[in-house]
Amino acid sequence: MAANNTLSISFTVNGEKFNNVNVPSRQHLADFLRSQGFTGTHLGCEQGACGACTIEMDGKAVRSCLVLASQANGSDLKTVEGFDDKMMEQVKQSFLKHNAFQCGFCSPGMLMTTKEILLSKKKLTRDEIRSEISGNYCRCTGYQSIVDAIEECINEVN
């Protein structure tokens, strides 16, 4: 039965090597990462609309619910658990200071989007920040505190 097909793939997650791992051919990357204990990657809609599952794949932000695990073969993945460089620590401090999250469920995806904004080195206005994070749903904050935090990060990074 097709549902039981598996594929053998190799990749890294946050620098940790996974060699020749069998993944179900139909499993999406978010489910696979979560099954390996990377539970910081959250699932909100499983159709790419909410942004909660956004991770970094070969340097780019992807919806891990829209990527099959098998497509990660040979990739370098980074999840929220691996956001520990100096820039991301600064981002986290800014999120904490501005209370840019409440329940925390959207935060992994929101941090990834923030990371992409900061790496782009663009000096965005508040409206542009709002536009950039409009693929990430947050039901708790009303977004203003997230915009505050990202605005502060942009000013510090640039």
């Binding site: 999250f101 409440q102 329940c103 925390g104 469920f105």
Partner: protein, 797 residues
């Protein structure tokens, strides 16, 4: 230390003393785990031998289940078993969603899985248990159901018609509940009025859309006769009681653990059939069972909210004084009243809260609640508020326009005066410690309202329709036993706190209030450290575990700070008293000469003190050194409940300014202001974030969110791509300010702050839009106010 707000409450001591944490916007240090990917949500949990479930749900709004054949499905890979109502009913007793204190409510028995008849699209009728969710879903497709589709009663407005489809034949019709409030003589007053205005408003169904969906892991341990439930709910002790009652378990051996919860907003405080089925399956199989709703299940089975049509009438004299108000509200709640809170409370609050900020000597309100074949409707953030506030404030604007009075002035002359409390609402509900006058004054000051009339005229010259609005409202918070308990529901209105000094000198606090991201842990810690005199970082907090926290109601109706916070304050003061008694004995001095600062017992007049660590070491390890007869308890507990009144009300004033694109019908909220009086703010930043998040949910209801159904009762937009939630781009910055009137019901003086934004935003946005549309003689009366409705109002389509 972050910015210090005003010392809002003299009962709490000077803000200048060491360890004064109440009133400070301190960051939630312990919440940083979420930024490191370290939250512990229900779906993050894996237990040995855990199995997964997927529910077969009715594809029809109303249909007879003639037969269910699971033979082929049971042979599917990884399937352990498949149950229908027959098997689940063997271990789980049905429930009825009625209360006894609000007149007759009629709702039939409801079981985890539907028997014979399915009554909404999404109602569970069978459940596959398998080794993975994917395998369970595979097997769902192999279950054969012989359906006989029936006519559905979808429209609430025809639910009581003679030819309506009767959803529960044993009830005779589709009426769930009705209530009438009648104060004074409205008919006489309307005759005497110089101006009478009327309107009818529609509010579509929307839903909570918590980013984390509902989830549960039930783990029946036969060897211990113990049921452990990991649940992302809001009221652990309520769930403990309900699961024990319906599964016939020893209540003391049911443990509910609620770790991190990814948003709730009232959605997660109800008893859901699928979750009850999961507990029953675990009991039958003796294995841990996990259910995490997918997004389709969330849209079709999480409770929906609103679904009202309300007519209103307001009479004023020529000076703008309100003489009478009358409302008639119809609401549709799906096929069952939810358990155990019932689906009557939303309408009840509409009747209680309409007109509540104002002196209205004659008030009549009728509420009618009917069954229909849609997803069950129940209490969601700001229960009833959006409807009550919108009808009141729409009528007041209409009256102002009719007699030619300013929008702020007509409100000011009708407010229940700030110095007149305790007082009563037009519906007869007791009100106290409110500040509509001061809050409106503050709002007008920060809005600079004068400039908007000029701007409106300038915009109009440029072809832009712009408008503004202001509103006032009462917000239900901190409910007493008169809310649910009096009606027979086992929902605690009391909350407890337990606090101890440990051998290391650390403070441990536990509370029955739960955390869903509001900052419960943070404010409890601030209160405890503040009242004890210890550093914030020396307090750790346990929440959300019925085996580890005091008994209590949990988090709903904005009760955490005002009720749970007061319990923490009282417990901390008791522990401090115990510590100072012991210290006085050890230090051979009077207790009154001692205090605690920065984790040390100090002498007020100077001299050597003793650290809490040393004191604890003495008590725990060398108790023989303490003078005989000294109470050695380094543990204190306290509880608190609101007595004598149904709720502690908060009040709020809001304003906004909008502009409308006449070609597209798109509404832009340019600015939004909110002034809230929630009494003592334990952490002002967290209060403001509650208000902002609430306003955005209110904007969602006002402009975007709707559960769209077709005529057959099929939900048409049950995905996050089709159901519009507020995203960052469309949302405005929100300016928040405060007036502070402490609640006289407690020492801490805090009221709730979680409801106002969601309750008030729909009213002020609608008023601002209509203020703009009035220039061209147009009006909108239906929420969500979509571009299509605006264009229709403008006569463009």
């Amino acid at each position: 230390m972050d910015d210090i707000k005003v010392n809002q409450n003299p009962k709490l001591g000077s803000i200048d003393r060491p360890n004064s944490y109440i009133g400070r916007s301190l960051p939630r240090e312990n919440a940083k785990k979420h930024l490191d990917g370290g939250g512990q949500f229900v779906d993050d949990l894996t237990l040995p031998r855990m199995v997964h479930v997927a529910f077969l749900r009715s594809p029809f709004a109303h249909a007879e289940i003639k037969s269910i054949d699971t033979k082929t499905a049971k042979l599917s890979d990884g399937v352990i078993d498949i149950f229908t109502a027959k098997e689940i009913d063997e271990v789980c007793k049905p429930w009825v969603g009625v209360l006894g204190h609000l007149g007759e409510m009629r709702s039939p028995e409801q079981s985890p899985l539907a028997k014979k008849i399915a009554r909404w699209q999404g109602e569970p009728i069978a459940v596959v248990i398998a080794n993975s969710r994917a395998q369970a879903e595979d097997a769902l497709e192999l279950i054969e159901v012989d359906w006989l589709e029936k006519d559905a009663q979808v429209d609430m407005e025809t639910a009581l018609d003679p030819n309506a489809v009767i959803i529960h034949p044993e009830l005779g019709n589709n009426l769930f509940w009705t209530r009438t409030v009648n104060q004074g003589d409205v008919d006489k007053a309307f005759k005497e009025a110089d101006a009478v205005v009327e309107t009818t408003l529609d509010f579509a169904r929307h839903t909570g859309v918590t980013l984390e969906s509902r989830g549960i892991v039930a783990d029946w341990n036969k060897a211990e006769n113990k049921m452990t439930i990991y649940h992302n709910g809001q009221a652990p002790h309520m769930m403990q009681h309900i699961i024990a009652k319906h599964l016939d378990l020893n209540e003391g051996l049911v443990r509910i653990i609620s770790r991190d919860v990814g948003g709730s907003f009232g959605i997660k405080v109800h008893v859901y059939p699928d979750e009850m089925a999961v507990t029953a399956i675990s009991k039958k199989l003796g294995r841990p069972v996990k259910f995490i709703a997918d997004r389709l299940e969330s849209f079709t089975t999480d409770i929906h909210a609103r679904c009202h049509k309300i007519s209103g009438k307001l009479g004023v004299d020529k000076n703008g004084k309100i003489l009478a108000m009358e409302i008639d509200d119809l609401s549709g709640i799906g096929p069952f009243s939810m358990y155990p809170r019932t689906s009557a409370i939303e309408t009840n609050q509409v009747l209680n809260l309409s007109g509540a900020p104002y002196v209205i000597p004659n008030y009549k309100a009728v509420g009618t609640v009917v069954f229909q074949n849609k997803t069950p409707m129940c209490q969601y953030r700001a229960v009833g508020h959006p409807i009550a506030v919108a009808i009141t404030e729409a009528l007041i604007d209409k009256a102002a326009y009719k007699i030619g009075m300013d929008l702020d002035k007509i409100r000011k002359i009708n407010f229940i005066p700030d110095n007149s409390y305790p007082n009563k609402s037009p519906s007869g509900v007791p009100l106290e410690d409110l500040s509509h006058q001061a809050s409106m004054d503050k709002l007008l000051e920060i809005m600079d309202i004068e400039k908007f009339e000029t701007k409106k005229k300038d915009d109009y010259q440029k072809g832009i329709l712009s408008g503004y609005g202001v509103i006032s409202m009462c917000e239900v918070t901190n409910p007493s036993p008169l809310f649910y308990g009096v009606g027979g529901a086992h929902i605690s209105s009391q909350d407890g706190a337990s606090i101890r000094l440990e051998g290391s000198g650390a403070i441990h606090l536990s509370s029955s209030i739960t955390e869903q991201g509001q900052g419960t842990e943070a404010i409890m810690k601030q209160i405890a450290a503040d009242q004890l005199g210890v550093k914030l970082e020396s307090v750790r907090v346990t929440l959300g575990d019925t085996d580890a926290t005091p008994y209590g109601g949990g988090t709903w109706a904005s009760r955490g700070a005002g009720i749970g916070g007061e319990a923490v304050l009282k417990a901390a003061r008791k522990l401090k008293d115990n510590i100072l008694n012991i210290a006085a004995a050890i230090m051979q001095t009077d207790k009154e000469s001692l205090d605690i600062e920065d984790n040390n017992v100090v002498r007020k007049n100077g001299g050597e003190g003793i650290s809490l660590q040393k004191l604890a070491e003495t008590v725990y390890y060398r108790g023989h050194e303490i003078p005989k007869g000294t109470n050695p308890e380094l543990l204190a507990t306290a509880s608190f409940l609101i007595e004598g009144i149904p709720f502690v009300f908060t009040n709020s004033a809001m304003g906004c300014q909008v502009s409308i694109d006449q070609d597209t019908g798109i509404i832009k909220i340019n600015k939004f202001w909110a002034v809230e009086d929630c009494g003592t703010q334990i952490n002002p930043k967290l209060v403001e974030e509650q208000i902002r998040g609430g306003v955005i949910q209110g904007i969602g209801g006002a402009l975007f969110e709707e559960c769209v159904y077709d005529d057959q009762g099929n939900m048409q937009n049950a995905t996050m791509a089709d159901y519009l939630v507020p995203m960052a781009y469309e949302m405005p910055d929100i300016i928040v300010d405060h007036v502070t009137t402490n609640s006289g019901r407690s020492i801490i003086g805090a009221k709730g702050a979680g409801e106002a934004g969601t309750g008030g935003a729909p009213a002020v946005i609608m008023n601002a839009i209509n203020n703009a549309l009035k220039q061209v003689g147009a009006e909108v009366i239906s929420q969500p106010i979509t571009p299509e409705k605006v264009l229709k109002a403008l006569g463009k389509i």
